[in-house]
Amino acid sequence: MPVQILKERNSGKITCVTLGATAEQGGTRACTITVGGESSLPWLHFEGETPNKPVVAVEVLDRYPEEWNDAVKAAYGDAMKDAATWAKAAVECGGADLIYLRLQSADPELGASTPEQCVATVKKVLATVGVPVAVIGCGIDEVDNKVIPAVAEACAGENLLLGLATTENYNTIVAAAMVHKHTVIAQSPLDINMCKQLNILITEMGIPADRIIVDPSIGGLGYGLEYAYSVGERARIGSLQGDKMLALPVIGTVGFEAWKAKEANVGADEFPGWGDQAERGILWETVTAASLLQSGLDILVMRHPEAIALVKKNVADLMAPSSL
């Protein structure tokens, strides 16, 4: 007796968003990256399309991250002392599809770099790597509102991914992205209603929906991952039912969250029951990524090259067509 397969007929799909711009398009990138376009729940190839596979953005800072785990620092060594060198290593050895550059040194407590210095850093990264680049501020609104517009202007035409636009602070960043033709990251605090509301606010300023990537503020494995997982599933279900203001590609700061966990960091000497620390940390980041890939992440912001290699293999396996 043949089984009657159940296929959902979805009316909506995720908007395609392209990052970066090549010389013909007014930028200097060697390639562009397109994410989104899915018309089914994650990986259900039998009832919809996944035209673009999820990509990995490697997190790069403009200061040496002394506080990061030794396992991650060891992976890049001295390259981490310079953002451009680090970005180059991330592309050549780390498997980066794009660079997620965090301008942390703009923070008055972490270097107080001026907007001009930040622009110079971004320019240097752009000159060194050919992949698209995301540029994020230091997290202090007053500072970021000076830094990001300066970067947007100096890099006009590159179609950077600029962030972070939040409900409390989106005007300046969105305006800068709009004028200089960049894409923005809209960050909301693990709340699907606030996520949707922010997308509406941003599009009302005149930027088209295909220039927005959503950052739902994921939780890492063991620390709120399930909230992010369910927000992701609900957003995808809403998108497939035709809700355009939810139907945007999703970015998740996997490395940042995963490497915050105690389980990723404490040594085997302190917690012998948890096994080897380096392996555990890498898999903590990997499993955070792998589980959220099942709820619909499009861009994974990651740190450890070995975790990235594992996730890319997983994505390749998941992209294999299935037939029913």
Binding site: M1, L6, L221, E263, R280, S291, N314
Partner: protein, 444 residues
């Protein structure tokens, strides 16, 4: 599809006698629809109604048990496709595989290692659930010997993997009384395997090839034995997820009986790290059992954490025990922070405090597992409540000073808290991410 409250109401006697412990028949119907009560609580329901309701109320996926005593685990009995619709109830069981090609000291060491895959994490004990012995050798006696080695030490339930009924019989003679999961009944051997499963009252995996063939085989087997687990026989991740998703959809949405059983999945890759990732996908997507070969603590702990996350109840905030927590090598002079007992809030604060490398105390104030601002808005995190907790939790006997750091978002409670408690209040950063800088500025 389960009946709605109104569908059920139509079939009830409508006496509103309250004997079911519900105020009205309609309330009883609603409680039935939400599985909060059972039909036998109503003494007046007609037989006809019982039949209709009983059939409709039967779980779409059967509950199947494996193991005995402390090692007993439940599989199946799920009712939704998405955890946010209700909850996932029975966490995926992790089974670590042991080959019967190992022997002697090698086998002993392996069994011992797998037996130690148990952890303490965020105040809870978690572990793998089963040891799976695979008949790689093709030899019935080698299989029995490996099963014996496992039986001698294991504190977990077992999975016996062989399609050879002779080997299975020998293994069951050793460990059959412990209700192992029998893997597997196939097109070729199912009659003998069913016989063995019946004899030992053990759950039986029915292994087919893809959806159609598996459904056919399950129907044949289910005619005589119903303690079943389904193996679709597919090992490629993408195809396997598609097929498992179909079994879940068909059982829940269409009540398709051949797939109304828990599903077992096997990781396909040879690399243990890749197996961990595959297992992560199966944990999120409907597998009741995942078999993998990865056996390092560092490889299993992330999967144990994922199980805890995905199978947590979305309607019940996870909480930590309200008490004084010491972070690092604390002394009577260590700083004291206060936050709520919502697990997410607490562990975020704990992570940042421990990252500051300054030994400190964190008080997890009982707020029924709500976050700082939610608890404050509900009157559960104010001067009175915090004072009550400070006096009760024993921190006043633990530290010499009387300084406490409160979350920046509730700076307004500073005055009231100082007045009630007699402690000096420092207003900390609004976000936990600011704790590191705050701690270095104030306590280093």
């Amino acid at each position: 599809m389960a009946l709605t409250g109104l569908d059920i109401f139509k079939l009830l006697p409508k006496k509103n006698c309250k004997e079911c412990e519900q105020p009205t028949c309609l309330a009883f119907a609603m409680a039935l629809a939400n599985a909060k009560t059972s039909l036998d609580k109503c003494p007046y329901v007609s037989d006809a109604a019982k039949e209709t309701l009983g059939g409709a109320a039967a779980p779409p996926i059967k509950l199947v048990k494996v193991g005995t005593l402390g090692a007993e685990r439940e599989m199946g009995d799920e009712v939704v496709l998405f955890r946010h619709d209700k909850a996932f109830y029975h966490p995926t069981l992790l089974a670590v595989e042991i080959s019967d090609k190992l022997s002697g000291a090698e086998l002993e060491a392996k069994v011992k290692k797998v037996n130690e895959l148990a952890f303490e994490r965020v105040g809870q004990s978690v572990s793998i659930d089963m040891m799976a012995v695979r008949n790689d050798s093709g030899n019935a006696d080698a299989f029995a010997a490996a099963v014996k080695a496992v039986a001698d030490v294991t504190c977990f339930a077992t999975v016996l993997i062989t399609e050879d009924p002779v080997a299975m019989e020998k293994a069951l003679a050793i460990i059959g009384s412990q209700k192992p999961l029998i893997h597997a009944a196939t097109e070729a051997n199912w009659e003998k395997m069913v016989e063995l499963a019946k004899k030992y009252e053990a759950p039986l995996v029915v292994k087919g090839k893809g959806l159609d063939a598996t459904a056919d085989l399950v129907e044949k087997v289910a005619a005589s034995y119903k303690e079943l687990v389904v193996d679709l026989g597919t090992r490629e991740l993408s195809q396997s997820l598609a097929e498992i998703t179909q079994t879940r959809r068909l059982s829940i949405k269409k009540k398709f009986r051949p797939f109304g059983y828990p599903v077992i999945a096997f990781t396909a890759s040879e690399n243990p790290r890749d197996q961990v990732i595959e297992a992560a996908a199966y944990i999120t997507k409907y597998a009741s059992v995942v078999v993998l070969k990865a056996d390092e603590k560092s490889q299993i702990l992330p999967l144990a954490a994922l199980k805890m996350n995905i199978f947590s109840d979305p309607q019940k905030p996870s909480q930590v025990e309200p008490k004084v927590n010491a972070i690092g090598n604390v002394t009577a002079d260590s700083p004291v922070y206060i936050t709520t007992n919502f697990a997410l809030t607490y562990y975020t604060v704990e992570g940042e405090v421990s990252a500051s490398k300054i030994p400190s105390y964190i008080l997890a104030c009982p707020t029924d597992g709500t976050s700082v601002l939610t608890a404050w808005a509900a009157g559960k995190f104010n001067g009175d409540k915090i004072t009550e907790f400070i006096k009760a939790c024993g921190i006043e006997e633990t530290v010499k000073h009387r300084n406490i750091v409160i979350p920046g978002h509730v700076a307004v409670i500073k005055g009231a808290l100082e007045e009630k408690s007699g402690w000096k209040v420092l207003v900390g950063p609004a976000e936990a991410s600011g704790i590191n800088a705050f701690a270095k500025g104030n306590f280093a």
